[in-house]
């Protein structure tokens, strides 16, 4: 489902070039749940952004859901996301001037779904927010906003779900609830999950844990395994 080959990302800043990713090789099977862990600045989010077609790699090959993302222009990438991808961010990234229902319906509308609002309402119901359809993000708690984001990500039943520290802005209890929901939804829909997290307990709920350090995969482990394997896959 995800193939990243010799992935490099170099960003130019005022202070000079910064190598964010340095030769990542990563593979994930359909339906697999992979967590990516590592210290801040290790390249976790960049890796996810590239896999989701939100950022272009400096070099290397990115093949996701059968599409070579390097061949796609900006609109091609948008269509790719529309068909294949759901994303949950730490900061929720809801459209603040849209209601919960509208936020969830919008990707379905872009996909031309005639039942966008019905499906959105159903998706919100599945995350326990049937009573919050007409509320704006500012009127919802952090946990509720993240549930709206998850309803939005899952509404189109994507092949892939990217989650970037989805509990980072939530208290532990709410975070736990959201993560339970995330795993439950991905399990139900058979979605491939790429989860970025700092929390070892959350990471250990995935099928595989990838450790990033200084823009490279330091090692990979399966939660039951010990000791870890080292190096790239």
């Amino acid at each position: 489902m995800i193939n990243l080959d010799d992935l490099h990302l170099k960003l130019t800043t005022d202070g000079g070039d910064v190598n964010i990713l340095r030769g990542i090789n990563f593979h994930a099977e359909a339906g697999e749940r992979v967590s990516v862990v590592g210290p801040s600045g290790s390249g976790k989010t960049s890796m996810m952004m590239i896999a989701a077609g939100l950022e272009r790699a400096t070099s290397g090959t990115v093949t996701v859901a059968g599409s070579d993302l390097g061949d796609l222009d900006e609109d091609g990438l948008a269509l790719f996301r529309r068909r294949n991808v759901g994303i949950v961010f730490q900061s929720f990234h809801l459209v603040r001037t849209m209601t919960a229902l509208e936020n969830v319906a919008i990707p379905l509308e872009f996909a031309g779904r005639a039942d966008a609002f019905e499906a959105a309402a159903q998706s919100l119901t599945s995350v326990g927010l049937a009573h919050r359809l007409t509320h704006y993000p500012g009127q919802l708690s952090g946990g509720e906003q993240q549930r709206v984001a998850m309803a939005r990500a899952f509404a189109g039943i994507p092949k892939l779900l990217f989650a970037d520290e989805p509990t980072g802005n939530l208290d532990s209890e709410t975070g736990e609830y959201v993560i339970d929901l995330l795993f439950e939804l991905s399990q139900k829909s058979g979605t491939t999950l790429l989860l970025i997290t700092h929390d070892p307990a959350i990471a250990s709920r995935c099928d595989r844990i990838v450790h990033l350090l200084n823009g490279q995969i330091d090692h990979t482990e399966t939660p039951a395994e010990s000791p870890p394997q080292t190096g790239s896959e």
Partner: protein
């Protein structure tokens, strides 16, 4: 609970009262360190409105000062005595010569022909004596003096003329021009005539001849309409001199004017234009006020964290209010200062325009009064539109401030703020009225502006509610566009209000101008006669009637006697002591034409009250009066008017009232006398002829060749000239109305800029969720298209209603809707809105997603 709140408020109040003002100033200075970023639209809105008001006021003052400085030259003397139909008596002349330096001038409208009689035209003839001009300087193209230019050469009288006359008659210097029964050699071309005060609308160009040549022209006949002016340079105070004159000649019948009121026509014109332009400037300022309010609101929203933090650290509401009020005021002064600087420079830019259209040199310098007025308007508008957001910022709890965008606290300003808002609005309206020359008109404007604001607020709310209530459109981009109209923080309201107000002014102005132009260009021409012939002598009537009635192409003719008379008393009270409604002041202002008839007029007026006299009536003098003027004067059947006809005062009773249709351009008179009183008085006749356009030149030649004293006025030409003057005025008015649009555009740009950050964010999120660039552009395009169209349609409706009101009620003319003007305005608005909106969208599309999405 209420006791607790009350105690809290008391504690807060006590704490606030201990906060020194300098603390607010210190905090304000820290805020000011950020500069004017985010306040550019605020500054531009204030600067534009203030510059308009200051500029208009400064130009007006410069013209008035110029009028005052040139008053003697414009009047031609320190005192001007004008007699109509007659010259001063020997006794009067002797007294005048003994009591000052005198210059005599005669003026009459007549025909001029080139010597081979192939071209002719109506001219404004002016005969001057050797002392002309007493004041000012006559400029001729060759630079010589008027006295030398008009000196006879080789036994032929000399003349000087406007270049338009020479061109039209094909004359070069030295050629002969024929006036009445005499020829004049064209000696030079007039470049500037110091006492000419009506350059804008004259029936013909000027020809100036020596006064001594006047008798030879044969134009001075009993009853012919000429004016004799006696300009006097007096010794000592003018008031004393006039008092002595009146004591000596108490019933001379002359119009006395002194240099303190040298050019009342120009003064009236300047006053009216100033009032109109000031009010347009004020409209621009009010429209800009919406932008000011938006900028303050956006600024305070960006400061919510700071305000919340300050409150957490113990700042009182009063301190917050004072700090940010000071900030707004300081920035307001910057915007106002820019406006005042630009406004004070406007007279310099307007100088060529003034020189072209007014016979007065503007006195360019800094005039404090208009600047003070503009400054005051600017401050009041800045305060009026800032008070609401300021009051919210100080009143809303910090926690609510954080959620303001989606959960707007419907905080009604407290009673003190509401009272302050009311006071500021009342002061603004009051100042607009008090500072205006025509206060009734200004009052209408203030009421109209208030109604327009409320109406647009209502319309904007209606649009927001309707877009919220309407079923979801099936098309995604359209759904997003419609939803964007009612989203929290959407600029819908302010764009409809500001751009809509500006557009309404433009639509109204264009429609009114179009109606006037159509009225003059089409409606009037349909029924108007082809010619007026004036100054027909009684002994010429029979021959004239024969000539004209048998002339090929003439369909209809009309003729009535005409005399000049001045209303001196209404119901026994002198007109000087009566306040006449401004629209009807012309009736009592100086001499008016009047006639006498046995039978009621068959066209152009109908008797609507009272009875017409019998054809053989010979009793005490009766008059038939204009019904609408009678209503304005508060008089009716049986009331009396005293009318001075040729120096003789007649008291006449109103026998009937006529409703006059002035639009026919036929011969109509406000006053028609019964027979028996005026037949013997010196009088001339005025005739009309309806004819084919192709016959006009031939008829003009036939009549004026046969009767050199008769002047032929080509109605088509006059209306065409009038239309071109109206077109120029229309262009000027539209340009000024564009100021309001400019202010609206500023507000639009500000509103779009304010929502830009949100739009960029939305665009990025849409991209993440699978939207293509086409989807995003489509949604934003449709949003601005809807907004532009809705604003344009509302403005077109309101502007049309306003124009209809003015045309039907004020001008009392037929209303014609001119779709082209409205469509053009609608298109302008829509294109403007979409273009400005898409400029921002284009930038939003170019934004990379990743930087915005990374966790902070």
């Amino acid at each position: 609970m209420s006791a607790t709140t009350s105690e809290t408020r008391q504690i807060e109040h006590d704490a606030a009262s201990r906060e020194p003002v300098w603390l607010a100033w210190r905090l304000c200075r820290r805020e000011l360190r950020a500069g004017s970023a985010g306040f550019r639209i605020f500054l531009a809105c204030l600067a534009l409105g203030v510059a308009a008001i200051a500029g208009v006021g400064s130009v007006s003052q410069a013209i008035v000062a110029g009028l005052s400085a040139d008053a003697r030259a414009l009047l031609g003397g320190e005192v001007d005595l004008r007699l109509t139909h007659r010259e001063a008596s020997e006794e009067q002349l002797t007294w005048l010569q003994a009591n000052g330096r005198i210059s005599a001038v005669a003026e009459i409208r007549t025909m001029a022909r080139n010597n081979d009689r192939t071209s002719r035209m109506l001219i404004e003839l002016k005969a001057v004596d050797e002392n002309y001009p007493l004041y000012g300087e006559m400029k001729l193209s060759e630079g010589g003096s008027i006295k030398d230019a008009l000196a006879p050469r080789d036994g032929v009288w000399s003349s000087v003329a406007d270049v338009g006359l020479a061109e039209r008659l094909g004359l070069s210097k030295g050629d002969l021009v024929r006036v009445g029964e005499t020829e004049f050699r064209l000696a030079d071309i007039i470049e500037r005539e110091p006492d000419r005060t009506s350059q804008i609308i004259a029936l013909g160009p000027r020809l100036m001849i020596p006064l001594a040549a006047m008798p030879e022209t044969g134009l001075i006949k009993p009853g012919s309409l000429f004016h004799h002016h006696y300009r006097i340079a007096v010794d000592g105070p003018v008031e004393d001199w006039v008092a002595r004159l009146n004591a000596r000649f108490d019933s001379a019948g002359w119009r006395i004017r002194d240099f303190s009121n040298a050019a009342p026509g120009i003064q009236r014109f300047v006053d009216r234009v100033t009032l109109f332009l000031t009010l347009v400037g004020l409209t621009a300022l009010l429209v800009g006020g919406v932008g000011v309010g938006n900028a303050v609101k956006a600024y305070l929203q960006s400061k919510t964290e700071t305000i919340a933090a300050l409150k957490c650290l113990g700042a009182s509401r009063r301190l917050i209010f004072r700090t940010y009020m000071l900030h707004i005021l300081v920035l307001s002064f910057v915007g106002i200062a820019i406006g005042l600087t630009v406004g004070s420079l406007v007279p310099l830019a307007a100088r060529p325009l003034i020189a072209e259209y007014l016979p007065v040199a503007a006195n360019i310098r800094i005039y404090p009064m208009p600047l003070i007025l503009a400054l005051t308007f600017g401050i009041l508008v800045a305060i009026l539109f800032s008070l609401g957001p300021l009051s919210r910022a100080q009143n809303v709890p910090a926690a609510s401030l954080f959620r303001d965008l989606v959960a707007p606290h419907d905080v009604w300003p407290g009673p003190r703020v509401a009272l302050s808002l009311g006071l500021v609005a009342a002061t603004l309206g009051g100042l607009a009225i008090v500072s205006a020359d025509n206060r009734i008109f200004a009052l209408y404007f203030v009421v109209g502006a208030a109604v327009a604001f409320v109406a647009f607020h209502f319309a904007a709310n209606l649009v927001i509610r309707a877009s919220r209530a309407m079923p979801r459109p099936p098309h995604t981009s359209l759904r997003i566009a419609v939803a964007n109209l009612h989203r929290p923080g959407a600029p819908t309201s302010s764009i409809i209000l500001s751009l809509g107000l500006g557009l309404t002014v433009l639509v109204a102005v264009v429609l009114i101008e179009g109606n006037i132009s159509r009225q003059v260009g089409e409606t009037l021409l349909e029924d108007a006669p082809g010619f007026y012939f004036i100054d027909l002598q009684t002994d010429q009537i029979a021959e004239f009637d024969t000539l004209i009635s048998s002339f090929p192409g003439v369909h209809k003719t009309g003729r009535v006697p005409i005399l000049r008379g001045r209303i001196t008393k209404i119901k026994g009270t002198s007109v000087d002591q009566i306040t006449v409604p401004p629209d009807y002041a012309w009736i009592t202002r100086g001499d008016r034409g009047l006639t006498w008839l046995r039978e009621p007029p068959t066209t152009g007026s109908n008797v609507v009250a009272g009875e017409w006299w019998p054809a053989d009536y010979s009793g005490p003098p009766l008059i038939s009066f204009d019904a609408e003027a009678a209503r304005a004067f508060g008089i009716g059947i049986g009331d009396t008017l005293n009318i001075n006809v040729l120096g003789r005062e007649v008291e006449a009773k109103i026998a009937n009232l006529r409703l006059i249709d002035w639009n026919t351009l036929g011969i109509n008179f406000v006053i028609v006398f019964s027979p028996g009183w005026l037949e013997a008085a010196p009088q001339t006749h005025i005739a009309t002829a309806h004819l084919d356009a192709a016959s006009e030149t031939a008829l003009e030649a036939a009549v004026t060749d046969r009767f050199p004293n008769i002047s032929a006025i080509r109605v088509r030409e006059v209306l065409s000239n009038l239309n071109s003057v109206l077109a120029k005025i229309g262009t000027a008015v539209r340009s000024i109305a564009a100021l309001a649009i400019a202010a609206g555009t500023l507000v639009l740009a500000g509103a779009i800029a304010a929502s830009h950050k949100r739009r960029v964010y939305d665009a990025v999120i849409f991209k993440v969720l699978g939207a293509t660039r086409r989807d995003i552009v489509g949604a934003f395009f449709l949003e601005f298209l809807l907004l532009g169209l809705i604003t344009a349609v509302i403005s077109a409706l309101m502007g049309s209603v306003a124009a209809w009101g003015v045309v039907v009620w004020v001008m009392e003319a037929d209303w014609v809707f001119i779709p082209g003007a409205v469509v053009a305005t609608t298109v302008i608005c829509t294109v403007l809105t979409v273009a400005l909106g898409l400029v921002g969208t284009w930038y939003a599309l170019g934004q990379k997603a990743a930087p915005l999405l990374r966790n902070e």
